[in-house]
C-alpha cells in the first residue's frame, strides 16, 4: 500500500534534504524547530491492464456521451488530437500512454470503416515536435501509417488557411481553433493529465487554438485571477477555457475526450535515480552511497554531458486511470485521480517557501532550461501547486535553487533570447511588458517563420512564461535564487544567493527573525491543500 504524501516537521535529527538543482542536486539542512518538508505521496498502484482500461473507458463513456464505437461511421471526418512534448515530465518510457490510446481509437475507427483520419499534435504555440518525438508519443506503427502521407502533423497556429473562427464567448473572447479539427465530425482528444491544470476544455480550446484566441486567457490579469491555476474552480485561466469550450460545443464541434493519469513513479524503484523518490531519513547505506556517487559524478561533468544524461531519462510511470466521454464529466474524474496522487493537506502558510528546481519543465524537453523558464517553473508551476491558499504567505519569501545559467537553446527559444536581452533589460513588470512588448513579439514575422518552419516556440511564448509567474511575483515579498548565475538572476529581478543559509538570512530582512520555512519536495509531484 503506497503511503500518501505528508508534512515532516524538521528537528535536529532530520538529515539534510535533497534539493533539485538543475542537472544536479544540493543537500540542504533546514532550520530545526521551524521548518517542515512537504513530501509527495508514493506512487499509486498502476493499472494492471492498461489496454483493458482503455477499452473500458472508450466503451463506457462518462457524462452525456455515447461509446466511441457509436460515434464512428463510414465517410466521417475523424481528427485525433493529442498532448504534445510538454507532457509528461520527464517523458515516459515506451509505450507512451498516447500511443496506447490512439491505437485503440484507430482500431475502432478501422472497424467502423472510417478512412478520413487526421492525427494532430495539439501544441498551441509550443515548438513543433520532431519525428523522433512524434514517434515516441504515438508509436512507430501509427507514425509510419499516417505521417508519410501527411495525415499526422503538428498543429500550426499561424496558418491562416487552417484556422476556423467559431465565435466569441459572452466575455468577448474569440474562439479560433484548428480548421480540420473544427470541421471534423468528431474530435478525439487524447490527453495526459500530469497535473490538475491540464485537460478539460483546456485541451481543445488551448491546444488547438491560435494566438488570437489564446491571448484572452494567457495574459497577466487572467494569471493574477487564477489562485491557483492548478485548481480549476479558482482559476480564471480555466473559466475562460470553459467558456470557450461552450462556444466550441455550440458551434457543433463534437469532442470525445480521453484523459489519463499517471502515478508518481518518476525516477523508478531501482537504479541510481530511485533514491530521489525516497525520504532522506529512510535512506539506507546503499541509497546514501548511490546518491553521493551520483552527485559527485554529476558535479564533475561538463554541463552538456549532465544535460544529455538527464534529458535521456524516461520515467517508468504507471498509468493510474483512463476515462473517456464528455469533456467536463471526464475531467472531473481525472482531476479527482490527479489529486489522489498529488494532493497533501498542509496546515497553514509559511513565511519562507523553498524549492529545488529540477532540470526540466514543460518547455525544455530535449532542450535547455533558460532563465525565463526557471522563473516560470518556480513561480509559475511550483508556487501554484496549491489549493486553497498559497503555501507561502503574502509578502513572504520564495527561495529557489537552480543554476539559472543565461544559456538559451538557439533553435527552440529564439524569442526568449530577445525577451531576456531586450524586454527584461528594460522592465520586469508583467503588465508593462504585456502592454509595451507583447504585440511586437507576437506578430514578428521572423518568429512566426521559425515557429512554422523550424522548431521554435512562438514569438509570444516567453511572455506567457513571464505571465505564468506573475501571481507568484505579486504574492511574494522577495524571490531569492540559490546557486544561480548572478547576472541572470538579477536580470529576472530576483536576488542571488550563494547558499541556502545566505538566502534564509536575506529572507529574514523581509519576514523577520526565525521565520517558518516550508520546503516543497518536488518532483515527484506534490500539491499542497493549504487550510
Amino acid at each position: 500500500m503506497p503511503r500518501p504524501g505528508f508534512v515532516l516537521d524538521v528537528d535536529r535529527s532530520t538529515p539534510p534534504i535533497v534539493f533539485h538543482h538543475g542537472e544536479g542536486f544540493r543537500l540542504e539542512k533546514l532550520p530545526a524547530g521551524r521548518s517542515r518538508v512537504l513530501y509527495p505521496g508514493e506512487p499509486l498502484a498502476p493499472l494492471d491492464d492498461v489496454e483493458a482500461a482503455i477499452s473500458h473507458a472508450l466503451d463506457h463513456p462518462l457524462g452525456d456521451s455515447e461509446p466511441l464505437r457509436a460515434l464512428l461511421r463510414p465517410g466521417m471526418k475523424l481528427t485525433i488530437c493529442f498532448d504534445d512534448i510538454s507532457l509528461p515530465l520527464p517523458p515516459m518510457r515506451r509505450p507512451d500512454i498516447r500511443q496506447r490510446v490512439i491505437e485503440a481509437v484507430l482500431d475502432r475507427a478501422a472497424a467502423a470503416g472510417v478512412d478520413d483520419v487526421h492525427i494532430i499534435a495539439a501544441l498551441a504555440l509550443h515548438r513543433r515536435m520532431t519525428e523522433d518525438e512524434l514517434r515516441h508519443a504515438v508509436g512507430d506503427r501509427v507514425y509510419d501509417a499516417f505521417a508519410p502521407s501527411g495525415l499526422l502533423y503538428n498543429h500550426d497556429a499561424e496558418d491562416p488557411d487552417n484556422l476556423a473562427f467559431l465565435g466569441t464567448t459572452p466575455h468577448g473572447e474569440e474562439v479560433e481553433i484548428n480548421k480540420r479539427a473544427a470541421e471534423s465530425d468528431l474530435i478525439v482528444y487524447v490527453n495526459i493529465n500530469l497535473v490538475s491544470m491540464d485537460g478539460g476544455h483546456k485541451s481543445t480550446a488551448t491546444g488547438l487554438a491560435s494566438y488570437r484566441s489564446l491571448r484572452h486567457h494567457h495574459n497577466v490579469q487572467a494569471m493574477l485571477d487564477s489562485k491557483s491555476f492548478m485548481d480549476r474552480h479558482s482559476s480564471e485561466l480555466h473559466h475562460s477555457n470553459w467558456r470557450m469550450g461552450k462556444v466550441i460545443r455550440d458551434a457543433g464541434v463534437k469532442i470525445f475526450q480521453i484523459e489519463s493519469t499517471l502515478n508518481n513513479d518518476t525516477f523508478g524503484q531501482s537504479g541510481p535515480m530511485s533514491v530521489l523518490q525516497k525520504r532522506e531519513w529512510e535512506w539506507n547505506a546503499r541509497d546514501r552511497a548511490s546518491f553521493v556517487t551520483m552527485k559527485a559524478a554529476l558535479d564533475r561533468m561538463p554541463v552538456k554531458a549532465r544535460r544529455a544524461i538527464f534529458q535521456a531519462w524516461k520515467a517508468p510511470y504507471g498509468v493510474t486511470s483512463v476515462q473517456a466521454g464528455e469533456v467536463e464529466a471526464v475531467h472531473e474524474r481525472t482531476t479527482h485521480n490527479v489529486f489522489a496522487q498529488q494532493l497533501v493537506e498542509v496546515e497553514g502558510q509559511t513565511d519562507v517557501l523553498t524549492m529545488g528546481l529540477p532540470y526540466i519543465c514543460p518547455y525544455n524537453v530535449n532542450s535547455i532550461m533558460n532563465p525565463i523558464l526557471v522563473a516560470c517553473l518556480g513561480l509559475g508551476y511550483f508556487f501554484n501547486m496549491y489549493r486553497g491558499r498559497p503555501l507561502v504567505r503574502e509578502g513572504g519569501v520564495v527561495i529557489m535553487s537552480h543554476p539559472t545559467s543565461s544559456e538559451f537553446h538557439p533553435v527552440h527559444h529564439p524569442s526568449y533570447i530577445d525577451f531576456f536581452e531586450q524586454v527584461l533589460a528594460d522592465t520586469t513588470d508583467p503588465k508593462e511588458i504585456e502592454q509595451r512588448y507583447e504585440k511586437q513579439y507576437a506578430e514578428d514575422e521572423w518568429y512566426r517563420h521559425l515557429y512554422r518552419t523550424s522548431y521554435a516556440y512562438h514569438g509570444v511564448h516567453p511572455f506567457y512564461m513571464w505571465y505564468w509567474a506573475c501571481h507568484g511575483m505579486a504574492h511574494a515579498g522577495k524571490v531569492v535564487v540559490v546557486g544561480g548565475e548572478t547576472k541572470a538572476v538579477r536580470r529576472l529581478g530576483f536576488t542571488p544567493a550563494s547558499t541556502l543559509q545566505d538566502a534564509l538570512e536575506m529572507a529574514e530582512d523581509v519576514v523577520g527573525r526565525d521565520p517558518t520555512v516550508t520546503h516543497i519536495h518536488n518532483p515527484p509531484l506534490v500539491m499542497a491543500d493549504v487550510t
Binding site: I417, E421, Q422, A425, E443, D444, W446
Partner: protein, 387 residues
C-alpha cells in the same frame, strides 16, 4: 619646450606595430614617439599665434598612429616629425582660453583664393590639404609646421581659435573638438531609427549629439547603442540611448526591434535605417552592412583603415556607405553648447603629465576595459609651460 614628437623611423614604426598588436597602446614604448625638448616652429604668417595647451586629449586616430595601424593613405598628408594632439584647450599669450579647430584649411595654408569646399564652409573637405605654405598635414597634430597639443606650446591660425566661456572647465573644453566631430556626424543622420556601433568616446559623444536632436534641428531619434563594457553601458544609458546591447547582440536586437527576417548568414532582410559606425574596423563595418535596412545608410564615423569587407550587401540592398570626417567651423559652436548642457566634462576619466606618456597612451588604448572614456594630457603644471 617639451613635446612628444612622432618621427619618421621605419624600424621603430614596425616595432610599434608588433607591440601594439600584442597589447594596445604599447606602441608608445617601442615606436617612434618620444618626449623631447624642441623649439616652437616658426610662425608661418602674421595670423598665427602661440597657444599653450592646458589639456590635450588622446584620440583613436592618435592611438592608431602610435600603434602603427593607421593607413598609408595618410603618408602624403602628414609631415614628419610632428607633435600629435588635436583635441586641445589652450591659453593664448593674453591669458584667454581657446579651443583649437585643428583642420588645416585653405585659409591656414595661405591658399588664395580658397578652394570651393573651403569657400562653402566645408573646411573638413579642403581640396588643398597638402599644399600652401604649410607642410602637409590634414590637421594640427599631424603637421610639422604647427606643432600639436601634446606639448607645452604650439601654433594656431587665428581662424582656428574658438573662445570658450569663462565658466567652462578645461575638462569640458577638451571635449569640444571630439564633440564637434559627433555633432557633424549627427547632422548627417536624418533617419529616425539609428544604431550606433561603439561606445568609446566618439560613440558616446555621437550618441549624445544624436539624442540632442532639438539643438541640431533634427527629428527625435530612437538610438540603439552597442557597449562592450559595463561603464560604457552606463554612460550610454545616461546619454540617452533608447537601448544598449553588447556588440554581439546587435544583430538580434535590430532584428527584434525592426521585425526583420534573418538569413542563415546573419544578414537581415530588413534592418535599421541608419547605422553609425564609430569603430571603423572590419568587423564593425561588416556588422553595419548586415543590419542596415535596404536603402539605408552606414555612416562611417570611426577612422577606417585597410579592410576586407564583403560589399555584396551594400550592392544588393542598395545601402549607402558614407564617410563622416571631422567638422565645419559652426559645429564647434553647437559642440560648446552641448558640452555645457550635458556636462560632458565628466567623460574625462584620467589625465597624465607628458612624462608619463607611455602610461597615458596605454590607458587610453584600453580605456573601455579600464572604465575610462577620455584620457588626456594635463599640461597645466608642466614646468616649461610656465616659464
Amino acid at each position: 619646450m617639451k613635446a612628444l614628437l612622432f618621427s619618421r623611423k621605419p624600424a621603430r614604426y614596425a616595432a610599434a606595430m608588433v607591440a601594439g598588436a600584442i597589447r594596445p597602446g604599447r606602441g608608445a614604448k617601442f615606436g617612434p614617439l618620444s618626449l623631447r625638448d624642441v623649439d616652437l616652429p616658426d610662425r608661418p604668417g602674421d595670423d598665427w599665434v602661440r597657444v599653450r595647451p592646458r589639456l590635450a586629449g588622446i584620440c583613436g586616430s592618435d592611438l592608431a598612429t602610435i600603434d602603427g595601424h593607421s593607413s598609408r593613405y595618410f603618408e602624403p598628408i602628414v609631415s614628419f616629425p610632428f607633435v600629435p594632439g588635436h583635441e586641445v584647450v589652450g591659453e593664448l599669450d593674453d591669458g584667454s582660453r581657446v579651443v583649437v579647430v585643428p583642420v588645416l584649411s585653405c585659409v591656414t595654408r595661405g591658399v588664395t583664393p580658397p578652394c570651393a569646399q573651403c569657400q562653402a564652409g566645408h573646411i573638413n573637405l579642403c581640396e588643398r590639404i597638402a599644399y600652401g605654405h604649410l607642410e602637409p598635414g590634414l590637421q594640427t597634430g599631424f603637421c610639422e609646421s604647427t606643432g600639436g597639443g601634446w606639448s607645452t606650446a604650439m601654433l594656431a591660425h587665428t581662424s582656428q581659435l574658438v573662445p570658450i566661456p569663462d565658466d567652462m572647465s578645461d575638462e569640458a573644453a577638451v571635449l569640444v573638438e571630439p564633440t564637434a566631430c559627433a555633432v557633424h556626424a549627427a547632422k548627417q543622420v536624418t533617419a529616425g531609427q539609428v544604431a550606433v556601433i561603439g561606445s568609446g568616446s566618439l560613440g558616446l559623444l555621437t550618441l549624445a549629439a544624436l539624442t540632442a536632436h532639438d539643438d541640431l534641428g533634427g527629428s527625435p531619434k530612437s538610438v540603439l547603442v552597442t557597449a562592450k563594457h559595463p561603464d560604457q553601458r552606463r554612460w550610454a544609458k545616461e546619454l540617452g540611448a533608447t537601448a544598449v546591447c553588447a556588440p554581439d547582440e546587435l544583430e538580434r536586437n535590430v532584428r527584434a526591434s525592426t521585425g526583420s527576417m534573418k538569413l542563415d548568414n546573419g544578414q537581415l532582410t530588413g534592418g535599421i535605417e541608419a547605422v553609425v559606425d564609430c569603430v571603423g574596423s572590419e568587423q564593425s563595418l561588416a556588422q553595419a552592412l548586415r543590419i542596415v535596412a535596404p536603402g539605408g545608410t552606414v555612416h562611417l564615423v570611426g577612422m577606417a583603415g585597410q579592410t576586407n569587407v564583403d560589399l555584396t550587401p551594400l550592392w544588393h540592398r542598395e545601402a549607402a556607405l558614407r564617410g563622416v570626417y571631422a567638422y565645419e567651423r559652426e559645429d564647434f559652436d553647437t559642440a560648446v553648447e552641448l558640452v555645457q548642457r550635458l556636462d560632458l566634462g565628466r567623460l574625462v576619466s584620467a589625465t597624465y603629465p607628458l612624462s608619463r606618456y607611455e602610461d597615458a597612451i596605454e590607458h587610453a588604448a584600453n580605456a573601455g576595459s579600464r572604465g575610462a572614456v577620455k584620457v588626456a594630457f594635463d599640461l597645466r603644471d608642466e614646468r616649461e609651460r610656465n616659464w
